[in-house]
Symmetry: C2
Subunit: 134 residues, 2 copies
């Protein structure tokens, strides 16, 4: 695994762990960062993006990702990773737990800061039309 | 408007015009191109992406975009454009026409080929949760 792919894995691991500190450490600084959560409008600026992660993590009792079709490409000090995610999550109020699943696709753009890859754009979206995968 | 922003406008103009030749001319060559239509899984490779555009254009009698919140950033031979789109489209079978609307968010990654920007990644997604925009 390249360091860019490892940074991409770190994004999903921070989310799975509901670890806001880890998520904050991964994201780049400044007003140019942007984030699209699945089904959401685009959020711009580190402050707004981090507020959204705090909200989402507080409302996600359990989530686990299985990544497939990961492609990572580096050009200069930027890296673009695209991948599909198959998710397990717990629905609040469910006695059974772990009932909800689904598929997402993600584009993550990273910027190299020193010897680290920091996330500057996350775009996640729901796969609503499974026909295209067949 | 920069040439990168103009390339981004060309993408939406080609779609509005249902002009597959124009869309094909905008996209980069090769297996590394990728496309996520709103609600779709990720399509990879120029051939599959172009087949999807032919299908979508054949099934979209009318569509018009109003772009907002456009941000374009260049690093080396790549350019990343993010924007929101507010759409008007016609539903087939509607007597009134022009009834359906909605909002999307897009990430477009372009590669510079000679003096042209060519599209290598399009990721569009539906805005399902309007609360975040308020």
């Amino acid at each position: 695994m390249t360091d860019l792919e490892a940074a991409n894995e770190e994004f999903f691991a921070a989310f799975e762990g509901a670890d806001l500190d880890r998520m904050e450490a991964l994201w780049a600084d400044g007003p140019d960062v942007a984030c699209v959560h699945p089904g959401w409008a685009m959020l711009r600026g580190r402050e707004e993006v981090m507020r959204s992660w705090a909200l989402i993590m507080a409302n996600t009792p359990y989530i686990q990702f299985v990544l497939t079709d990961v492609r990572a490409e580096i050009f200069g000090d930027r890296g673009v990773v695209t991948c599909s995610e198959h998710i397990l999550t717990a629905e609040e109020g469910s006695d059974v737990g772990f009932v909800a699943g689904g598929s997402l696709v993600t584009t993550n753009v990273f910027v190299r800061v020193g010897d680290e890859w920091r996330l500057c754009l996350h775009h996640g979206s729901p796969v609503l039309n499974q026909i295209e995968e067949e």
